[in-house]
Amino acid sequence: MKQPEDIAQQAATLDQHLALVARMTQEFTTSLDIEDTLNNAITQMMEYMHAEAASIFLLENDDTELVCRTCAGPIQLTGLRLAADHGIIGNTVKQNAVQMVLDVSTDPDFTAQVDEQTGFTTRSILCAPLTVKDKKLGAIELINKKSEDGLFVGDDQHILTALAASAALAIHNAAMASALIEQERIQHELELAREIQSNLLPVAQADDYPVHGYNLPMREVSGDFYDYFTLPDGRIVFNLADVSGKGMNASLLMAKTSSLFHCLGKTQTSPGQLMSMINNEVHENSTRGMFVTMVGGIFDPADGTIILANAGHQPPMLQYAEGHFEEIIGQSPPLGIVPDVEFPETTLNLKDGTLYIYTDGVTESQQDGKMLGEEGFQAMITAHRDKPVTARITAMFESLQREGRELHDDVTVLVIENKPQAPSLSLKVPAKANHLKQLRDKAREVVLAAGSGKEQADSIILAISEAASNIIQHAYKDNEGDIELNIHIDSHISPHQLVITLRDYAETIDINEIRSRALDDVRPGGLGVHFMKQLMDNLVYTVPEDGRGNRLEMRITINE
């Protein structure tokens, strides 16, 4: 039978054990700096368990080696590499079980290799495996108990097992955390790359500049690019290209190719020869299997001439002023595949037409499993052709991103046209009565610039203001919202055909409810619609393409 003093001492010892386990568990769970934590822990464990030395070995190199990550005691072992099946520690890891060797000289697993290297004498070893679930991480080893007999006891085995479990978890967590940090770092770098990439694209120009582009990347970084810049003689050099593959490789090749184009294009104004130079340069040190398709050219706004060269890119489409399309065929291999290739040039005159250069992300976009295709893209262009070029590009990309349409690739479009730009206006104002004056003032400027006389301008402005008042009162019902006003000339009908559209995002209104009231029933709204009908040639309410809100289109022929 045990004496009460023995029981009290056992209880006190157990308390101390628990306190150490708790302290270390806490240190492990709160620190992500694993080296620091392990260094600290191994010293505490060694002292607490009265060992002469202690070390932690972790599996590395596809679990073929055990490497000492930290140690305490007279001999510095940190960095020491052992074969994964080496000695008692290797055995501990392999069997995933605690090994307690009281006298190493009698243990067949003991190898004296380390002792021989260090001059240290190992007498007895306590070694516990570090595992999380089924994953083996390494082992923790205590050497030579500082007691009279120098032997580890059963209690030591239990404490080390408990400590090893929490140490293993801490090592595992730290590894996961650093993987997460690495992932975040890569994400951050991709974002930087995207920013750098979008800075390589030219700054968007106003409607009266002949070249406009837009790029919609499907990932952080894109393999598509376009560029344009004006030469001192007024001609404009432009290109659009698609790098094979996706992701970082593609975007680096994109950066290189676009820089070459931008730099060499300032002095080499023959698109065919420029492409030959870029082709050789890209070919010289390109990664196997990567290539670039490109349409590049030079446009002279003075006479409307375009000289084009095409390196393996799909043919650009020219829409004539009359509305029909022609593909500009002219194929050479993509850049970077074969050196010393000639790139023949095609010359065309833009006249009042528009040239569309695009990547296959446009035509390969799908709706209900069906690809848009060239014809679908042409229909999309035609649907928006009476809009000024920047508004047209915006509308086309809205259509491409509409719900239900799937984009699988980067989408890039470059548009070249040489039309004298008629005055136009795109304005968005809050749907509040105190913004009506601003709307009228802006609209008046454009209507007068479009050639209207003062009296007619008054009428047009009244109709616009009445339409906007109706949106505020009857569509938004005095709730928050925006009104978009667009005014432009529909030159396909006549240079005097003014088109005014007002769009809101309120609930869609039943068109049958919009009618003018009898004249003796003069309440706002009804009288307003009467004004609009009297003043405008034509008035059409439609539900916008995206199914939200209302659109009113008013047309009037301008007379001076």
């Binding site: 009565a433 203001s465 008042s469 309440r523 706002p524 009288l527 307003g528 004004f531």
Partner: protein, 117 residues
């Protein structure tokens, strides 16, 4: 003067030859109308013959026209005079559009109105 500095419509009321003369200035649109309407209705409610001077109104929309009609109807019910004087071309063309140029009595000035009656 009793002008709300927020309102785009300014006004001045004078008591001349037995009439309240309200002289509006600015643009009477959906934003300015509530203010203008209140001024007109207050004149009628004070049981006074009222004329509205629209020489300095550069823009009026259907809501502004509607408050003129409201003043006209209210005055008629109370057997009070209500007329428009000195109206700008901008206002006249909107009244013509609403076919109201023959409904309102319109005069070049208050004097002309008094002589005509």
């Amino acid at each position: 003067m009793n002008n709300n500095s927020d309102s785009p419509v300014k006004f001045e009321i004078d008591d001349e030859q037995g009439y309240l003369v309200v002289r509006f200035e600015g643009e009477i649109d959906l934003y300015g109308t509530p203010h203008a309407r209140e001024v007109i209705l207050n004149c009628i409610k004070s049981k006074r013959n009222t004329v509205i001077d629209l020489s300095a109104v550069s823009y009026i929309d259907s809501s502004g026209v509607a408050s003129l009609v409201e003043g006209y109807q209210l005055a008629k019910n109370d057997k009070l005079e209500f007329g428009l004087v000195n109206i700008s071309d901008a206002v006249l063309s909107v009244l013509q559009l609403a076919h109201l140029d023959k409904v309102f009595t319109i005069h070049a000035s208050l004097d002309e109105r008094i002589q005509a009656s």
